[in-house]
């Protein structure tokens, strides 16, 4: 039997139960708060992804370079700030969703899925001459060829070894190449002339020269540097939305680290062993020395202007790799001046090659080649419209490969890489 004063025992038990209930209430409250935060974050992330889809649509309601806030579903609780800006031959899309104090941000470098229906491997302009194949040349995919067609040839002691001339469909090409996006060419020429946009931040070149490492987020305004003198980037590590323009030349060595950077100069040299992600635009010449690797999504472009020398061209030396786009373009105002694009032995391109001049291809292109004329240079002679031991294979290009916006007719937008 309880002793007298059992009310004290009852109060003690009540206190214990109250503590237990209090801790349960606290636990429930924390749990509910966490769950609500988690739901809000899920919603914000979903809205950021939806905002990115808006930017990836064909006609996003967002002008270039401006931040636009939209209410996604008209419920006044799905606000997303959208922004898109040009970055070399690609586009940067930024979607920031927010709700109260929570926010989530997605940023991506956006390209295009080109020519997904035809899956063209080769588009060669019809200059009333057949294309001659020699050695282990392999054309795989739909090929747009001159009406004169293809023929086997015997060069340097090598005759064509394939059992079929084209492993794919043959279609008739036209005299003129598919038109390039003229706005894109204008943009690259402006870049070469160091005509920066009003929204760019122009940095002092000494800042670049004094720092070994520089990183600039794609979420900020582009950071641009200009130098009238040659620039040697040996030992530099540059990452992000940085534009580097030289009025003379840029040299990139194996010790240079580049990630997403944009380079423009009359002459650009990538020294042997360089590896990185970069968009490089040259006016007079570009050289990728032996073993250079331009990783996806990279661009190597030669845009020759009226001031360029007669022999403006790009050389991709043996065992080099380009994952992205290779462009050699020159205004067709003088037929004697043609951009020359040459790929050495064992070179590899994963992506797209466009040349409105002469193309000397001795390596492999896993993707698409659009060119005006093939030129084969051997130690003993120079042959027009010949291919020796070259491979053009569209089937080996990944289906989700995002190309730059080169041609006027473009496919669906696709993320090439996440930006930071």
């Amino acid at each position: 039997m309880l002793k007298a004063g059992s009310i004290y025992y009852a109060l003690a038990v009540a206190l214990l139960i109250a503590l237990l209930c209090g801790s349960l209430i606290l636990f429930a409250s924390a749990n509910r708060t966490q769950l609500q935060w988690s739901r809000r974050m899920c919603n914000v992330r979903l809205n950021a992804a939806s905002g990115m889809q808006v930017l990836m649509s064909e006609q996003p309601p967002v002008p270039y370079g401006e931040k636009t806030v939209i209410d996604l579903y008209g419920r006044r609780q799905d606000s997303v700030e959208l922004q898109r800006k040009e970055w070399g031959l690609y586009e940067v899309a930024i979607a920031r969703a927010f709700s109260g104090t929570e926010q989530f941000l997605e940023a991506a470098i956006v390209g295009r899925l080109p020519d997904t229906t035809d899956r063209t491997a080769l588009w060669l302009a019809d200059l009333d001459r057949p294309l001659a194949l020699c050695g282990k040349t392999e054309l795989r995919g739909t090929c747009y060829l001159p009406e004169a067609g293809l023929k086997r040839a015997y060069i340097e002691g090598q005759s064509y070894t394939g059992d079929r001339m084209v492993y794919g469909e043959i279609k008739k090409s036209e005299r003129f190449l598919p038109k390039l996006n003229e706005a894109l060419i204008d943009k690259l020429q402006k870049l070469l002339n160091a005509e920066f946009s009003e929204t760019d931040s122009l940095g002092d070149i000494s800042m670049l020269l004094e720092n070994d490492s520089l990183s600039h987020s794609f979420l900020k305004r582009p950071l641009c540097f200009y130098s009238a003198t040659p620039l040697d980037l040996s030992g530099k590590s540059l990452s992000g939305q940085i534009t580097l323009v030289s009025g003379s030349a840029i040299t990139v060595s194996a010790e240079t680290r580049l990630n997403g950077v944009l380079l423009a100069a009359p002459r650009i040299v990538f020294k042997e062993g360089f590896s990185g992600r970069v968009q490089a635009v040259a006016r007079d010449s570009m050289i990728l020395e032996k073993g250079t690797q331009l990783l996806y999504p990279s661009v190597a472009a030669l845009v020759a202007g009226p001031r360029s020398p007669e022999q403006a061209g790009m050389r991709v030396k043996e065992k080099s790799l380009v994952e992205g786009t290779v462009l050699a373009w020159r205004a067709q105002d003088d037929f004697r001046k043609q951009a020359v694009l040459s790929f050495g032995k064992e070179t590899e391109v994963q992506g797209f090659v466009y040349s409105n001049g002469q193309l000397d291809l001795k390596g492999s292109v896993y993707g698409q080649v659009i060119c005006n004329k093939f030129l084969l240079v051997t130690p003993s002679a120079v042959y027009e419209h010949h291919l020796l031991n070259a491979v053009i294979d569209r089937s080996k290009l990944q289906r989700a490969f995002a190309a730059s916006v080169l041609l006027q007719e473009n496919g669906k937008k696709i993320k090439a890489a996440w930006a930071f």
Binding site: M1, L2, K3, A4, G5, S6, I7, Y9, A10, L11, V13, A14, I17, A18, L20, C21, L24, I25, F27, A28, N31, R32, L35, Q36, R39, L46, A49, S50, Q53, V54, M56, S57, E58, Q59, P60, P61, I70, L72, Y73, D78, K412
Partner: protein, 119 residues
């Protein structure tokens, strides 16, 4: 005398009836409040059905995108009813708005998910 006095002093103490009743009321009230709080916690936002509904919507969204099922329809996934509404998104041509709603057997909305997709 001394012995008698000790006997009177060592008498066992007891509780009066009123004290015992108050004690019982206090303990019962505390238990009652505790049970109410427990019941409240188990029936709040994080109940299993609502979480299950959210997971079901997530799975449905993944399936719709993977299998490109861009059509409005209602499916039963006992004890849930999932309503899928696909409409063109007006602010950006080419996009579709995918709205998924989950209801319980009584028709109460448990969860909702809206996103934009590119077919």
């Amino acid at each position: 005398m001394g012995i008698l006095a000790n006997v009177f002093r060592s008498r066992a103490k007891g509780s009066i009836l009123l004290e015992s009743m108050i004690s019982m009321v206090i303990v019962m009230t505390c238990f009652g409040v505790g049970i109410m709080i427990y019941a409240n916690i188990t029936s709040t936002d994080n109940n299993r059905l609502r979480l299950r509904a959210e997971l079901a919507l997530e799975q449905t969204a993944q399936r719709v995108k993977a299998e490109k099922l861009f059509l409005s329809e209602t499916t039963e996934d006992a004890p849930l009813r999932i309503v899928r509404i696909v409409t063109p998104y007006e602010k950006a041509p080419g996009l579709q708005q995918l709205q998924l709603e989950a209801y319980d057997l009584e028709g109460n909305k448990l969860a909702e998910r809206i996103e934009l997709i590119m077919p």
